[in-house]
């Protein structure tokens, strides 16, 4: 089945099921209809918890539906504080362990949700151009191995044999067989549908105006009372938090993505760069999706971020450096999605110490991690399972940056 026909064959939560009245009360209200929110709603509904999800626009329209759908399991450039691994070793170890559990969860989701997610375990390459970068690959390989994640460092002719489409003068690459991708258009809608099937109330086009302790949630469609609140509003989580007088260590950033015309399939794995900003993969329909952390221009609200031609140009240059045959492939679209960033890039999952009953469920590497942290949070809310304290929303050591 092609990517397109998969998309179209998946069942869809119809507008008729998302536009009904808002209930007067519930146990848990979830704010945000992205991957994190729909997954929390699903896992709570599965636990038998009474849950209402409120989305201000449409499901899956922001970061959850505008990212490239890649799974990032091996240590990447953005996780390094310096051009080495040693200074951040404990954090990197814990990151990889979390990634590993997310990888395992994704493998079970198609069966769990009874639908297609267009899941592909293609493996992922992280290339190095310089001796210094190659050293980082070797160092991070040790950490990954210790955490239980399989990676291999390939050099010279070994790499050329394995990935002949890469530039011949790259010094090496680490390969992580578990990496791959799923379809970002499918995941959150399927979680939402299955949440609704299990009794969750999913409501779109409702604005949350204010959340008062107790909890009293004032919305554009009336007032709702709930025992507990889950803030899963992603890049806008701080706007929601502010209505309760809270601040979260989250800021919004726009990330640039380039998409090309379709070409014959040559590239199987996800390709990244340990020293320059690049993620590159070829989708099932043949288009190359190129990104990796190039910025976008912030606009005045309600506008979001707009694309920067400079980002397209810089990103394209790195892509061609790594895979020279991309030079004559035509760019057809660029876009930017809004993502939630925390300054330490760790998830923000747990209960606010200052406001019991108020939870957050947000991750920076959101597509990879959201189902995982949503399940952890649901288990915590429903059954009191403990959550890692290093993800607590009011943990120490975070810079509290303003958001919007």
């Amino acid at each position: 089945m092609t990517w397109g026909s998969l998309l179209r064959s998946n069942p869809v939560l119809s507008a008729a099921r998302t536009c009904g009245p808002l209930p007067a009360e519930t146990d848990v209200v979830v704010i945000g209809g992205g991957l994190a929110g729909t997954a929390v709603a699903y896992y709570l509904a599965r636990e038998g918890v009474d849950v209402v999800l409120i989305e201000r626009s449409e499901l899956n329209r922001e970061a959850s539906g505008t990212n490239a759908g890649s799974f990032h399991f091996q240590i990447a450039m953005h996780q390094l504080t310096a051009r080495e691994t040693e200074s951040a070793r404990p954090r990197l170890l814990s990151d990889v362990r979390l990634h590993l559990s997310a990888a395992r969860l994704w493998q079970t989701l198609e069966e769990e949700l009874d639908g297609a997610l267009d899941l592909h375990e293609t493996g992922g390459l992280m290339v190095a151009e310089t001796p210094e970068e190659l050293q980082i690959l070797h160092d991070k390989h040790l950490i990954e191995t210790e955490a239980g994640l399989e990676t291999h460092v390939l050099e010279g002719s070994e790499l050329q044999g394995f990935a002949p489409y890469l530039a011949g003068d790259l010094l090496g690459a680490s390969f992580c067989p578990a990496e791959g991708h799923a379809n970002p258009f499918l995941a959150a809608p399927l979680f939402a549908l299955r949440a609704a099937d299990r009794g969750a109330v999913v409501r779109t086009r409702i604005d949350v105006i204010r959340i008062e302790p107790g909890f009293v949630i004032t919305t554009s469609a009336g007032t709702l009372r709930a025992h507990r609140v889950v803030n899963a509003a992603g890049a806008w989580a701080n706007d929601i938090a502010a209505t309760s007088g809270l601040r979260l260590p989250i800021r919004a950033e726009g990330l640039h993505v380039n998409v090309t015309e379709p070409r014959a399939k040559v590239l199987e794995p996800l390709v990244q760069h340990i020293g320059r900003r690049l993620t590159l993969k070829q989708a099932a329909n043949g288009t190359f999706i190129i990104g990796g952390g190039w910025p976008a221009r912030p606009e005045q609200p309600p506008a979001r971020f707009t694309t920067l031609w400079e980002s397209a140009a810089g990103n394209a240059a790195v892509a061609i450096r790594v895979m020279p045959s991309l030079a004559d492939v035509r760019l057809v679209r660029m876009w930017t999605g809004v993502m939630a960033f925390t300054d330490d890039l760790q998830p923000v999952v747990g209960e606010m110490g200052s406001l019991p009953g108020y939870f957050t469920c947000i991750a920076t590497t959101g597509f990879t991690l959201s189902p995982m942290i949503a399940r952890m949070l649901a288990a915590h809310i429903a059954r009191g399972e403990s959550l890692p304290h290093e993800y607590a929303p009011d943990r120490k050591g975070l810079e509290w940056t303003a958001t919007t």
Partner: protein, 468 residues
Amino acid sequence: MSSGTSCELLVVGGGPAGLAAAVQAASLGLDVTLVDERPTLGGQIFKQPGLQVRDHAALGRDHRRGRTLIQAAERSGVRLLTRTSCVSLQGTNAVIVEEGGHARAVSASHVIVAPGAHDRPVVFPGWTLPGVVTAGAAQTIVKTHRVTPGERVLFAGSGPLALAFPAQLHHYGVNIVAALEAGPPPRPRDIARIAGAARGNAALFRDAVGYRVGLVRGGVNLRYRRIVVRAEGRDRLEAVVHAACDAEWRVIAGTEERVEVDTLCVGYGFFPSTELMRLAGCSFRYDEDLGGHVVRVDEWMRTTVPGISAAGDGAGVAGSFVAIDEGRLAAIGLVGDERSAGPIRRRLKRKLRFQHALQRMHRIGPGIYELATPETVICRCEEVTLAELAQPIKASDDINVVKGFTRVTMGLCQGRNCQRQIGALLAAQHGCALGDLLVATPRSPVRPVPLAAVADETIDDLGLFVAK
């Protein structure tokens, strides 16, 4: 991207509106750069032949008008860049790419966007078969390359401008088997209304009536109230089925006729090319008579984005006479010369009144959106059929949601072909008006550009996404 250039005025589009704007602005002393993606200037209506021409008189009035305007532009000192596309516009900062060249940033004080219009795509079974062409494409084949699009050509369309095409093709010796007009034959009161609005619009009136007369005189079988139903053929077009339609353009059962042809020329009107204006964030309104979504402009043709003006069919399809005046007005607006603007505004008002009177006779009927069957491909870039859209259009009336589920509008054409048809499906499903619906978010570049033409090794890591 190589180092950027700057100019006082960037004109995008070298058709009637763009040329008129550039010439006018240059005469006001502005430093003007004009880009057009085609190899020759003149746009669609003034398209010049690719060959050496000995007898310009033989090529007709539009050709002569175009030649005069192009010559004026060539003498005006305007920097004329052909084979050059404007692929991105943010405020008055544009990115242009010459064919085979590298993307360049152009920072302008003002931009006049005059991108023209494109054919209204009509979706019916078989619309993607080779041999089915739009009126504009057939015109290009004949005008530029001087070859006939086929041996037996059926024309199906509507509107006064649409009838110009079969008349023109006939004039060039193309065998038009029949011309089908979905609208009614002109009634006396329509003619009276048009004639009433025709005062001071002699040229336009001559066009509107002349094409019909030309067709009839040429012996072309012109049939009113008939619409294309489907195109048939294995690997290419072999036959077309057409039928009588009612006032809503809905097919009347039992009236189907099948005619064997090798070319179907489809001309149901035009849409303004709005991508750049959307990308720049200009505000839009909906006017079916002017092609649907049209950019909002003030009395100087200024859009809602500071520094950006729009003119010509790209700002609402109204033909070359209106386009030229709008182009001039947009240029004069840069210096705010009220005195020269007055007569142009009065003339424009008159021409637009005539345009509306004509369009009222030919207003698109909703039946045009109901020709597809479940197997019919709606989005040809991403190969999405009507059946595959059935579920997603129920999810929301927002086309961006449908796009997420199906990839419609995300291919090479960026929705120019399928977007209105999907809008009509959404409007029918959710009971709203086409004009109230959102359109798919526009994306840069508006034309495909090779990655090597985009890439710039000198751009440093822009520094984001770093753990602290």
